[in-house]
């Protein structure tokens, strides 16, 4: 295996806009909001940025093609700006670009930006779009909840879980995230909900009801990264470094190879998780990870991901969830900031928003929602696509000495 990037790159500063229905703002306004926080946190000048990556999911609803909109919005000094898109993992993809640039020595200081203006679509949920002319002929243009609901049916069948048990477990996921999001001033949805509300909400895609689906929001998040040496030279004392950064992509095996995948889990997530743990030198994730921010686009995704990250035994996550293992005061809190559930999922921003929360928690800067036990290693998981075909991105960040 490659040597990896553990501790080669540090986070110099991060920023995150308020997420929500930002009717008054364009994508570039949201970028500026997040960037101002990040550059103040970094304590540098715009002229010190060597390269930038921009993650955006949907062209049409946003800022159009290329890296130019970012370069123009921030008036960057004619540096290389690259736009990346990798389904809903676009945020972590932009982070990867910036981190790899620094790790390679090609850049001293690099910028990662993610943004999305979903509320310009005119309806709830993600925009419907083509997946290419061939797939349009022979594939299914289902909705995102429809695609992710598929995993619930297979999970029930694979592990013999009753309809009611699974429905209650995924409801707990959402109740927990709403309780967390209520404490977060940047979250879109800040209202706690109870089990009955979640269980009795209108059905969106069987068995996912309204509260099993994440919000639909506008938002932006920004990371500025550099080497640990430069960070220290710039006066940073408590460093958060990148321990692992892995992206795994489906190759069609799940979707096309009969008798292989059983539909109940996210194959690339398991691959990415194992690689990330190896890169970070983590041998016992359940003991070593302090926190996770996972891609809870839907409650069932979060539940299954607990197994795919090896934080629950296979077939047992629904019990662990109901047991409160991943609550804010549980054994490994998940979405302590409220998650996609409460932030909504402005595609390009989400991966960076997760890293932002982990960064704050590691530095003890998370305010009311700060984890009591001081965290040392935090994982974020950013997923694009659908259960049968996806891009799974994992970033593990931690205190420099962790």
């Amino acid at each position: 295996m490659a040597r990896g990037i553990k501790d080669k790159v540090a986070i110099l500063g991060m920023g995150c806009s308020r997420f929500g229905e930002r009717w008054d703002m364009d994508a570039d306004n949201l970028v500026v909001e997040a960037f101002e926080e990040a550059i103040a946190d970094a304590g540098i000048d715009v002229s010190q940025i060597d390269a930038a990556w921009l993650g955006v999911g949907f062209d049409a609803m946003n800022i159009g093609p290329s890296g130019l909109p970012l370069s123009i919005a921030l008036r960057l000094p004619n540096i290389g700006v690259t736009k990346v898109e990798n389904y809903c993992a676009s945020g972590t993809e932009s982070f990867r670009g910036a981190v790899y640039a620094v790790a390679s020595g090609a850049a001293d200081i690099a910028l990662a930006v993610g943004v999305e203006k979903l509320k310009d679509t005119g309806y709830g949920g993600l925009p419907v779009r083509s997946r290419g002319t061939t797939l349009d002929m022979v594939g299914v243009t289902g909705s995102a909840p429809g695609n992710f609901a598929q995993v619930a049916s297979a999970y029930r069948a694979a592990h013999n879980v009753s309809k009611d048990d699974l429905k209650r477990a995924i409801a707990h996921v959402s109740v927990k995230s709403h309780a967390n999001g209520a404490k977060n001033p940047k979250a879109h949805l800040r209202k706690a909900v109870d089990m009955d509300t979640v269980l009795n909400a209108p059905m969106i895609a069987e068995p996912l009801g309204l509260y099993d689906c994440c919000g639909v929001s506008d938002g932006a998040a920004v990371a500025i990264v550099t080497t640990p040496e430069i960070a220290r030279a710039l006066g940073k004392k408590d460093l958060v470094t990148i321990k692992a950064l892995q992206i795994a992509a489906s190759n069609g095996w799940e979707l096309q190879h009969a008798g292989g995948w059983n539909g109940s889990y996210f194959h690339p997530t398991r691959v990415a998780a194992q690689r990330a743990y190896d890169e970070a030198g983590i041998t016992a994730p359940r003991d070593q990870l302090s926190l996770t921010e996972v891609h809870d686009c839907f409650s069932i995704t979060e539940l299954v991901t607990m197994e795919d990250l090896f934080l629950s035994d296979e077939g047992n996550a629904w019990r662990d969830v109901l047991n409160g293992d991943f609550d804010a005061d549980g054994r490994i809190p998940c979405q302590i900031d409220g998650g996609l559930k409460c932030f909504g999922h402005p595609i390009g921003a989400s991966g960076l928003r997760m890293i932002y929360e982990n960064y704050l928690q590691l530095l003890g800067r998370a305010g009311d929602r700060q984890r009591k036990t001081p965290p040392s290693l935090a994982l974020s998981h950013n997923l694009g696509g659908m259960p049968s075909q996806n891009v799974s991105a994992i970033a593990i960040v931690g205190l420099a000495d962790a």
Binding site: T134, G146, Q150, S153, L208, G252
Partner: protein
């Protein structure tokens, strides 16, 4: 010389049966006189069915147990063809994965199109090298509160016509052509313009048809009393019995018009009735089929011993038994484009179909043909240069592998209420085919819940309609195996 006649037959009737009482209930405020027709049920296609999809299903049924490579030509008779200029029977050919070397013909323009196509096929059979698949399907667009709305029904039928071991021997035919304008429809007209029912009955259904019968019986040299099954695809009450009486055909020979449980399937109805007759007949029975529309066709057949040896199939009996009562008149009006509803912004997705990619992928998109790796045996859909088998990186190794007739089982499923779908919720999921092959696919004809593990069979349906460019797009869906 080998016998000429029918080698095989099949039929298709959509699953949904709209209750005529529901049609009447919605229209009685305006047309209380429809009450007399408001009994029983009529077959209605789902939103994703049309004359092409029904013809494909009827064709599949007719080709049960028959090597499709042996079919030499096909025709599709319908007055409700989805395309005015694009070979509709050519699309059926792709869906049935018939040989590229078949001849194909659309037959249209009259309620007699079905019987005329069959007559021509029977007359041409002795000069043909290979069997002809004679298909007919009809989905008439009928004006709300019209008689036709109540008496019509959607269905398709198929007959394989050729020489050799025929199940019904062709004894002869007789035709009469006269411009009798009982109804008409010009291009651009939504509905038929129908003339007075009493005149149509007296001068058309009875007088004109009786003349054809008398002349035909004489020309064919058949004793009318020897006819075992008299098929008159005219739903107006008592027409067939009157004709039988006038021409010396036994009253007991008069076949049921299937009006109670299906309705009259336009120009396909004669062939639907013929399939029903062949299903019920024993060897050695004489069948006289009549077609009416600006004249009359008569086709005389006699069943043979081969009939008893024919492989089991769905047929009309099976299709009629596999029905689901439907009281939702409004949904049907919407599906047939007779009422506009607010479809919401998600319906605005614009998916233009490039002819280039459809041409390249015609076998996959129209025929559900996947690939089988000749080295590893791995089956996949769609085909690709590099096999999906994770244990062997193999390129350019796949041969065509048709999946449409292979049973499949559900691996994942949901009922999606968020996606725009004309008949919500959208059921879809992943299926595994017996013997290999996996895909995510829409589910059709769902009633109740679909569980993981459920057995499915593939059905050819409309995938989407591009309303901007007027294109109807087809693909396969998975329906519960019943």
């Amino acid at each position: 010389m080998a016998d000429v006649g029918i080698l095989s037959f099949g039929a298709y009737v959509p699953r949904r049966r709209l209750q005529r009482s529901a049609i009447y209930a919605a229209n009685s405020w305006f047309a209380p006189g429809l009450k007399g027709l408001a009994k029983g049920e009529r077959a209605v296609g789902d939103w994703d069915e049309d004359s092409i999809t029904m013809a494909v299903e009827a064709g599949r049924d007719a080709l049960t147990g028959i090597d499709r490579a042996t079919v030499g030509s096909l025709s599709l008779a319908s007055t409700t063809l989805p395309y005015a200029d694009r070979l509709n029977s050519g699309m059926v050919k792709e869906a049935l994965t018939l040989s590229d070397n078949v001849a194909a013909l659309d037959v249209t323009g009259s309620q007699r199109a079905g019987t005329s196509a069959l007559r021509d096929a029977l007359e041409a059979a002795s000069g043909r090298k290979a069997p002809h698949l004679c298909l007919a399907a009809e989905m008439r667009k009928t004006c709300p509160a019209s008689d036709l709305e109540l008496t019509s029904g959607d269905a398709g039928a198929g007959l394989l016509v050729g020489t050799g071991d025929v199940v019904a021997k062709f004894l002869g035919t007789h035709s009469l052509t006269l411009d009798f304008v009982d109804h008409y429809r010009t291009p651009g007209m939504d509905y038929d313009y129908v003339y007075e029912a009493r005149w149509i009955r007296e001068e058309g259904h009875v007088a004109l048809t009786a003349r054809a019968l008398k002349e035909g019986i004489a020309a064919l040299g058949v004793d009318p009393a020897s006819i075992d099954r008299f098929l008159v695809p005219i739903s107006a009450k008592g027409v067939a019995a009157t004709l039988a009486k006038k021409t010396g055909i036994a009253e007991t020979a008069v076949a049921d018009t299937l009006q109670t449980g299906l309705g009259e399937a336009g120009c396909a109805h004669g062939l639907v009735m013929l399939v029903a007759a062949l299903e019920a007949a024993r060897p050695g029975e004489k069948i006289l089929l009549l077609g009416f529309g600006q004249g009359v066709d008569l086709i005389l057949l006699e069943t043979t011993d081969a009939l008893a040896r024919l492989a089991p199939r769905q047929g009309v009996v099976g299709a009629l038994a596999n029905g689901a009562k439907d009281e939702n008149y409004m949904r049907w009006l919407v599906h047939r484009g007779l009422v506009d509803i607010d479809k919401g912004a998600r319906a605005e997705l614009d998916q233009r179909q490039p002819s280039t990619s459809l041409w390249r992928h015609r076998k996959a998109a129209m025929g559900l043909v996947g690939g089988r790796c000749t080295k590893t045996g791995t089956v996949q859909f769609p085909k690709s240069d590099v096999s999906v088998n994770p244990n062997s990186w193999t390129a350019h190794s796949q041969e065509d592998y048709p999946l449409a007739e292979i049973p499949a089982r559900v691996l994942t499923v949901t009922a999606d209420s968020l996606s725009y779908y004309p008949n919500p919720p959208l059921y879809y999921g992943m299926i595994d085919f017996d013997g290999g092959g996996r895909m995510t696919i829409e589910f059709a004809d769902v009633a109740g819940e679909i569980e993981v593990g459920a057995e499915m069979r593939m059905v050819f349906r409309i995938k989407a309609v591009d309303e901007v460019r007027g294109m109807v797009k087809y693909f396969w869906k998975a329906a519960p195996a019943r």
